[in-house]
């Protein structure tokens, strides 16, 4: 007899747990470390070539300037985002330590990305090429070694989005936990993650099988709630602490993002400007465009996820809590891999290979046009003799 307790059969979930890549925890860590080593070395080279990164340095200064153990907690108003600030406080080595931590994060991100692609029945060679299309770009190196906060945030968002897909389609509550907590932690790393959590929650309302029954509507609302709750609780909790100890609900948010809700030039002008700049960034992410097209062909409603994601990036810039240009480019590349559909046909794989080649070509060729920070940084490395001409 079926009952509410009768477990669903969800082979994808079981595969998620059973078909880890690599098989054992030990080898997974070996792979992560092996991938991370070049990035850690790069962080060291970058430091030698141009000194510590301004973003990591600022984060480190902010973390060390706070009186964490004092009885007066008024400093909470200066302590957003708490997660990356805590990490900055805990990691030894100052800004350079943060660059190395970013390098270590790359290992985890790359291993998880390849693992997810393999679970979608994408051959290892293709998975490796697709991942390399993101990881072997200057923007990726730049964010990993120069902006620990952004890299940690985008890694968490990637994990959260993977969980969200499994939660939405396979109803795995373990993945629901991963999605919700991932978004919550990302929100505590950067306010820019909040629109992604909101969009993730909204996506559960629109993107799921079986659309009509009343019970299904209740399920979707509940799903949206559990995805959003950790982020909402984290932000509400932080806002409460600020209010209690500094008298302001929003001060630390405003300090972290001074342009928050300022809308320079007016609401609509700033919206148009945000949309235009993100459109520009999309040039660097042809794989995402291809993934959206493939999703649209397979299941039109699922392509909403891609659009919602791009919408979030626009919303970030519009409300004044933006990711930097390089971060957006890396994020778009990583998300493209998260959203790729299962079991690609040979023709689809061919299209993706072309897009990967295009993405890498643009990543190198278009640096001066689209990502001047990354271009400067690369030049400094090359000029210092640390990278081959």
């Amino acid at each position: 007899m079926a009952s509410p307790a009768t477990p669903l059969h969800a082979p994808t979930f079981l595969r998620w747990r059973q078909e880890r890549w690599p098989r054992t925890s030990r080898t997974r860590w070996v792979v992560r470390l092996a991938v991370a080593i070049p990035f850690v070395a790069l962080a060291d080279l970058a430091n030698a070539a141009g000194g510590p990164s301004p973003d990591n340095l600022a984060l480190h200064h902010q973390a060390t300037s706070l009186h964490w153990v004092g009885g007066q907690l008024g400093w909470i108003a200066h302590a957003y985002p708490p997660l990356t600030l805590s990490a900055a406080r805990l990691f030894p080595g100052g800004a350079q330590g943060l660059a190395i931590a970013g390098g270590l994060c790359t290992g985890i991100l790359v291993q998880l990305t390849i693992e997810r692609l393999l679970l979608r029945a994408i051959p290892f060679a293709n998975a490796a090429v697709l991942t390399a299309g993101v990881a072997l770009t200057p923007a990726f190196w730049f964010v990993a070694s120069q902006d620990f906060s952004a890299f940690l945030t985008l890694s968490l968002l990637s994990v959260a989005l993977t969980g969200l897909l499994d939660f939405t389609f396979n109803r795995s509550t373990e993945s629901g936990f991963i999605a919700g907590i991932g978004f919550g932690l990302a929100t505590m790393c950067d306010l820019a993650a909040l629109p992604f959590a909101v969009a993730g929650a909204l996506a559960t309302l629109f993107v799921a099988p079986q659309a009509k029954a009343v019970r299904e509507i209740a399920r979707r609302r509940a799903a949206a709630t559990v995805v959003l709750f950790p982020s909402a609780a984290a932000l509400a909790g932080w806002a409460f602490l600020q209010w209690r100890f500094s008298g302001s609900w929003t001060e630390s948010f405003a300090r972290a993002d001074p342009m928050l809700f300022r809308f320079p030039g007016g609401v609509w002008v700033s919206l148009a400007r945000a949309a235009s700049s993100v459109g520009h960034d999309l040039v660097f992410a042809p794989v995402l465009v291809a993934a959206a097209a493939l999703l649209f062909v397979r299941r039109p409603s699922s392509s909403v996820a891609c659009m919602a994601f791009v919408g979030c990036v626009i919303a970030n810039r519009w409300i004044g809590a933006p990711f930097s240009g390089p971060t957006v480019v890396v994020l778009l590349g990583v998300v493209a891999l998260v959203l790729l559909p299962e079991r690609l046909k040979a023709s689809e794989q061919a299209v993706l290979w072309v897009c990967v080649a295009l993405q890498v070509a643009i990543a190198y060729g278009g640096l001066h046009l689209g990502l001047p920070q990354v271009a400067d940084w690369t030049h400094r490395l090359i000029a210092g003799g640390h990278l081959p001409h």
Partner: protein
């Protein structure tokens, strides 16, 4: 007075079915049906006919007595010479289904048997009694009833004091050991002294200890839940596994149903248990009723229970608790496996088979598997919703997580399936512990045995009345306190037997839960005070790190526990309850009221059983007995 039917004139050897048809007690079609069942289950024809209600037990045994060429004795009207029972083991008699009745003038003993009176059987019984015997036939029901009456004192004594005699330290009969009493007094005195000498410093230290304890406890539960969530779809027992079981191989299964003052639900019990997909002739249902509960007994008889149900009267005596009744049931149980259900329970129909598959896969050390519990009246009111939230996370995440991490599992009140022999080896339930189930789970771990969980659910009635809730919860919390005190009597030995991880898991789960509820009101009060007096004044008294821990408890701790209960009901597909998880802080306050009541009762009435009333639900869809 002895009533022995005259022996039959001629030896009759017709098969039982033919004899019953000849007497007009059975039709050919019924016999065909029963033989078909016998082909599948391999059970005795008599058992099948009796359990199906086709032939009365008495008629079957009368016919059998004729076929055995053996007189029939009606034990309900026969006096038993109790001097013959003095050195006999009641359990052996119940297992072997014989009982000595009277000394005969020729020096032999008249012995009633419910099994074929073969020569070898007579010799074996004679060897036990040390006297020649003359066998007469009777029903198995008569024999068990006679044993229950004749050995009432011994059964009561074993049910009440068996564990205490076997292992004093594992019984909650004594609340505190002498060492524990000394330590408790010392802690109270030192704390009081510290508060007198340095009130602010003591408050800071105490709040820091409480805060860290709280945080560790919450983190522990959250991690266990996260591990448990991994096993969401990893079915320990699948429908295919159950379908592959052959009825022929199924063992006798005993179901214990202790009930006290539950006349209003005992009728529904029959309907709920009749839905179990298990051959009736391989089921033994013991309805355990207290001697002073005439109302429930009358209701049970009025419900016309099937022949598989035996009403057992629990001999009167203190403590009058559910575990004592269960021990009486355990004493009489014949099943190779045994499960406990409450009177209002609705187990999933294939639960017994799911448990058997789980046992078959586990090693011999696994003494018990726990099915999940949930509620059928979740939507009735705020309390039943909160109850459902709590049970969903507990049984769907916590217990699978504890099992996966090989930590001790405190059993839930019902739907615990046991290997009967192993349960007897463990000493049965502690009648002095008011959460005997949780205690048994921990005792199993302490003695090196294991407990598993199965993905089958029993639906119960959630408490819908606040007073009833406080009573029930105070008993549970008192039981957790008792269990903690019992198993921490020899902490070094516990660590040596079970290891650090299991000991810590036990301490955090069983000890930490009541402590958390006890500390909730002072922490809420402290929070309210800090809201009133302002942060600067707070900072004067509390160092930053203490504030940090408190803040983490307030925000992270609450959010984590709310989140797991949210996800628990989501998993249970009770989607409309998800937002109710936000009301958990108020629900925990109710627990705190119950916790203080529990603490008080632990001091003044440690073994008092706060009775939970069932059948209060007004949810007509949930109550089959309501129109």
């Amino acid at each position: 007075m002895t009533t022995v039917a005259a022996p039959p004139q001629a030896r009759r050897t017709e098969p039982l079915g033919t004899s019953l048809i000849e007497r007009g007690l059975l039709t050919h079609a019924e016999l065909e049906w029963a033989l078909g069942i016998q082909g599948v289950t391999g059970s005795r024809l008599g058992s099948i006919l009796i359990s199906a209600g086709l032939v009365r037990r008495l008629d079957v045994y009368r016919v059998l007595s004729e076929s055995w060429n053996c007189p029939f004795v009606d034990l309900t009207v026969t006096d038993i010479d109790r001097s013959l029972l003095v050195r006999l083991d009641a359990r052996r008699l119940a297992d072997e289904l014989w009982i000595p009745v009277q000394r005969l003038s020729d020096g032999s003993v008249l012995v009633a048997t419910a099994e074929r009176p073969e020569r070898g059987r007579a010799q074996a019984i004679a060897a036990v009694l040390g006297l020649p015997v003359r066998l007469v036939a009777t029903t198995d029901w008569d024999i068990r009833r006679a044993i229950g009456q004749c050995f009432a004192d011994a059964i009561l004594d074993e049910a009440t004091l068996g564990l205490w005699r076997r292992d004093e330290d594992h019984s909650a009969r004594r609340v505190l050991s002498s060492v524990q009493a000394v330590v408790a007094i010392a802690v109270v005195l030192v704390t009081a002294e510290a508060f007198l000498i340095a009130p602010i410093g003591s408050t800071v230290i105490l709040s820091a200890v409480i805060g860290v304890g709280f945080l560790v406890s919450v983190l522990f539960k959250f991690i266990v839940c996260m591990v448990g969530s991994r096993y969401e779809y990893a079915e320990s027992v699948s429908k295919d596994d159950i379908a592959a079981l052959s009825d022929n191989e199924l063992p006798l299964y005993t179901i214990l149903v202790p009930a006290y003052r539950e006349a209003n639900v005992v009728g529904a019990l029959m309907a709920n248990l009749s839905r179990l997909e298990y051959p009736p002739d391989k089921l033994e249902i013991l309805l355990l009723l207290e001697a002073d509960d005439a109302e429930t007994r009358a209701a049970a008889i009025a419900a016309k229970p099937p022949e598989t149900v035996t009403i057992v009267t629990v001999p009167p005596g203190q403590p009058q608790t559910k575990p004592k009744a269960c021990n009486v049931g355990l004493f009489l149980a014949r099943g190779e496996f045994l499960v406990i259900y409450d009177a209002e329970d609705r187990p999933e129909p294939d639960q017994l088979k799911a448990a058997l598959v789980a046992f078959a896969r586990a090693d011999e050390r696994q003494v018990c598997v726990q099915a999940a519990l949930n509620y059928f009246n979740a939507g009735e009111n705020a309390l039943t919703r909160m109850f459902t939230l709590e049970y969903s996370f507990w049984f769907d995440y916590m217990l699978p997580g504890l099992e996966a991490m090989r930590l001790p599992i405190p059993l839930g009140g019902t739907s615990n399936h046991f290997r009967t022999d192993a349960l007897r080896r463990l000493g049965g339930w502690d009648p002095f512990n008011v959460t005997e189930d949780a205690d048994l789970g921990i005792r199993s771990a302490a003695l090196g045995e294991t407990v598993g969980v199965i993905s089958s659910t029993t639906f119960e009635e959630a408490n819908s009345a606040y007073g009833n809730f406080i009573r029930q919860r105070s008993r549970w919390i008192k039981g957790y306190l008792q269990t903690t005190l019992v198993h921490l009597r020899h902490p070094v030995e516990l660590v040596r037997t079970t290891g650090w991880t299991k000991t810590l898991g036990f301490a955090l789960l069983v000890g930490g839960t009541p402590l958390s509820f006890l500390f909730v009101p002072p922490l809420y009060l402290l929070f309210a005070i800090t809201m009133i007096i302002g942060p600067k004044s707070v900072a004067r008294f509390f160092p930053g790190w203490v504030l940090w821990v408190s803040v983490a408890c307030l925000i992270v701790g609450n959010a984590m526990m709310i989140y797991v209960s949210m996800m628990g009901v989501f998993k249970r597909r009770r989607y409309r309850l998800v937002l109710w998880a936000l009301a958990n802080p108020f629900y925990w306050l109710l627990h705190s009221i119950a916790a203080y009541k529990a603490l008080w009762q632990l001091i003044v009435k440690p073994h008092y059983w706060e009775k939970t009333e069932h059948g209060l639900t007004s949810d007509t869809a949930a109550r089959p007995d309501l129109p």
